[in-house]
């Protein structure tokens, strides 16, 4: 479902260049992206989600050529088909857990209406062990609880792709394992593709494949 060919991307005023000749990730595959810091792992996630458009090469997602899509098409693609999980959770402090999870429905009009979604929120939260936190605000939650809610937000729109950037980076060892288990379970349950950037090599065993950026990194030095 994800096909990357001859991808080249370089940030302006930077010597760093991302170079991926060929990458394919199948539907339902759980892939871990590893590599040294600054190797372009997060950049890849941004390119795969259409946040960044590479100047050369092609990126295809579920049959869509991202290069040919307009900004609004890309936004709609992200909101409808991709879920994001961040290292620092990125929950909105002024929204309750309930509202945080439903955020995607409020920020893009291509999403269907909110009716019926309340039930889905409750189901997700109960499933993730935070069913009693719906009315709470992020400042009242532990890191582990925050990440579960972030995952709920990522999954609320039943995405076909979940991009998780260091989802366990701010968690204690017990929660790291639990969170990763949750991600795997949801991926299996929904047959959604999971791409996770991680520095935690101890957690790699559960993934279907490892994408090592050491192979792709090309640092042009003058």
């Amino acid at each position: 479902m994800i096909k990357v060919e001859n991808l080249r991307f370089q940030y302006q005023r930077s010597t760093f260049e991302l170079n991926i000749p060929d990458l394919q990730i199948e539907v339902g595959e759980k892939a871990a992206v590893i590599g040294p810091s600054g190797s372009g792992k997060t950049t890849l996630l941004n390119i795969l989600s259409g946040i960044i458009i590479a100047e050369s090469g092609s990126v295809e997602f579920n049959g869509h050529q991202l290069k040919t899509m307009s900004d609004s098409e890309l936004r709609n693609l992200r909101i409808n088909q991709i879920g994001f999980v961040f290292q620092d959770f990125k929950l909105l402090e002024y929204l309750s857990v309930y509202d945080n999870i439903l955020l995607p429905y409020r920020i893009n009009s291509s999403m269907p209406g909110l009716s019926g979604r309340g039930q889905r929120v409750k189901e997700l939260c109960v499933h993730l062990g935070v069913g009693d936190k719906l009315s709470k605000f992020p400042k009242h939650l532990s890191h582990g609880e925050k990440q579960r809610i972030a995952i709920s937000r990522a999954l609320i729109n039943d995405p076909s792709l979940v991009l998780a950037d260091e989802p366990t980076g701010n968690l204690d060892p017990e929660n790291k394992t639990k969170i990763l288990e949750i991600l795997f379970k949801m991926s299996d349950a929904n047959n959604s593709t999971l791409i996770t950037v991680t520095h935690d090599h101890e957690l790699l065993s559960g993934f279907d494949r490892i994408i090592d950026f050491t192979d792709f990194q090309k640092n042009t030095r003058q």
């Binding site: 936004r75 990125k90 955020l103 995607p104 893009n108």
Partner: protein
């Protein structure tokens, strides 16, 4: 739009203190020039209306402003008195009729206004309850007096003992309230009206006491002969007029010589007004006749100049507030950069994000406008206080 509004509302209500500070700052800066404009403009209207409805005021020669303020607003600044005889003189001209006014005492902080019944017809004042005063010792009160003191017909008021008149003495008189006037939204609402003769009694120019022909107590009667009795200072003067002692009340001397503070003269027509003024200006040495509208206009001119100064100040302060407001918003957006990028990442467009921020501003401004609207509305209830505190 609904979702943007919701998110904006959530943000503002979560950051309560910041929202309140911004809202009230903007509300105040919107309200201040408008509120002051309303205060001044309605004060002007009220004062001019009061002045326009009073054709001529006669009084002792002196400050026309003090004379007009005393007569129209019952501000009891020290003004010279004239005699009741001048009212007869004005009546005798045939140019209209005179309404004497004596405003120099207070009852529980409210001015006692001695006048004739013509005053009520002239001002078109109606009764809310009770009746107009019939005899000395009775009073009718303005609607505000009744409400604030919680009194009604059947109750009584005692005149305050202080006075600036240097007469024989001031007698606190217990006055019976017989009526309450309808609200008129004029200074009449804050006054206690009595017949002018009652005010003379308070001044000590009239009094009631036991019939000295029947008194034989040597401590009360200093000297007695067939034709005269000299009473001592110990003789008790009645401090309330009732059916039992009414007969004993009397005035010493000729009431024509008694003092009043001013006369409202109601001319038959404009020509009569002009003729009267001409006659008085030419021939009268001790008294004056003024046109209240002209006096009040002069007074308001100085207020108008102050208003312009205030407006300039408000513009500067307003600009400063807007700049600070802008700075606060800009800083807030910088702090929220991460949050806004998250929304973008998840799938929100820049326009939607701008809409959410825009909604926050709209909510702030609308709430500020509402608050300033309420303050603006409430301002209308304080016109009289403003006039009393800052104009007269």
């Amino acid at each position: 739009m609904k979702d943007s509004l919701y998110l904006a509302y959530r943000y503002l209500s979560y950051n309560r203190v910041r929202t309140l500070v911004l809202t009230f700052s903007v509300a105040i800066i919107i309200y201040l020039p408008l509120g002051l404009k309303k205060l001044i403009s309605e004060s002007e209207d009220q004062m001019l209306s009061r002045a326009n409805s009073t054709p001529l005021i006669a009084g002792k020669k002196g400050s026309p402003t003090d004379l007009v303020i005393n007569t129209l607003y019952f501000q009891q600044e020290k003004i010279e008195t004239l005699t009741m005889e001048f009212a007869s003189v004005l009546d005798g001209t045939g140019f209209g009729y005179a309404i004497p006014v004596l405003s120099s005492y207070k009852a529980r902080g409210y001015p006692i206004v001695g006048t004739s019944l013509d005053y009520f017809e002239f001002r078109d004042l109606g009764l809310e309850s009770g009746r107009l005063f019939g005899v000395v010792g009775e009073c009718v009160i303005g609607s505000n007096v009744a409400r604030r003191l919680d009194v009604q017909p059947g109750d009584s008021l005692i005149s305050s003992p202080e006075s600036f008149f240097d007469f024989a003495g001031v007698y606190p008189l217990k006055m019976d309230i017989v009526g309450v006037m309808e609200q008129s939204n004029t200074p009449d609402d804050d006054a206690v009206f009595v017949d002018i003769k009652t005010t003379w009694i308070i001044m000590g120019l009239g009094h009631g006491h036991q019939d000295l022909a029947q008194v034989y107590d040597p401590t009360l009667v200093m000297e007695r002969s067939d034709s005269s009795v000299t009473a001592g200072a110990k003789l008790f003067m009645y401090n309330q007029i009732s059916d039992d002692n009414m007969e004993s009340f009397h005035f010493h001397g000729d009431t024509k010589d008694y003092p009043i503070t001013s006369i409202i003269f109601v001319p038959n027509n404009q020509k009569s007004s002009t003729l009267l003024r001409g006659r008085i200006e030419a021939g009268e040495l001790e008294n004056q006749v003024v046109v209240p509208t002209l006096v009040v206009n002069n007074l308001l001119q100085s207020i108008f100049r102050l208003k312009q100064i205030f407006n300039s100040v408000f513009v500067i302060v307003g600009l400063a507030v807007i700049l600070i407001f802008g700075l606060v918003i800009a800083l807030s957006l910088r702090l929220r950069k991460d949050e806004l990028y998250t929304m973008f990442t998840i799938g929100s467009g820049k326009r939607k994000i701008a809409q959410i921020i825009g909604m926050e501003l709209v909510l702030l401004i609308v709430t500020s406008a509402l608050i300033s609207g309420i303050l603006y509305y409430i301002t209308g209830f304080f016109i009289n206080e403003f006039i009393n505190a800052f104009i007269i």
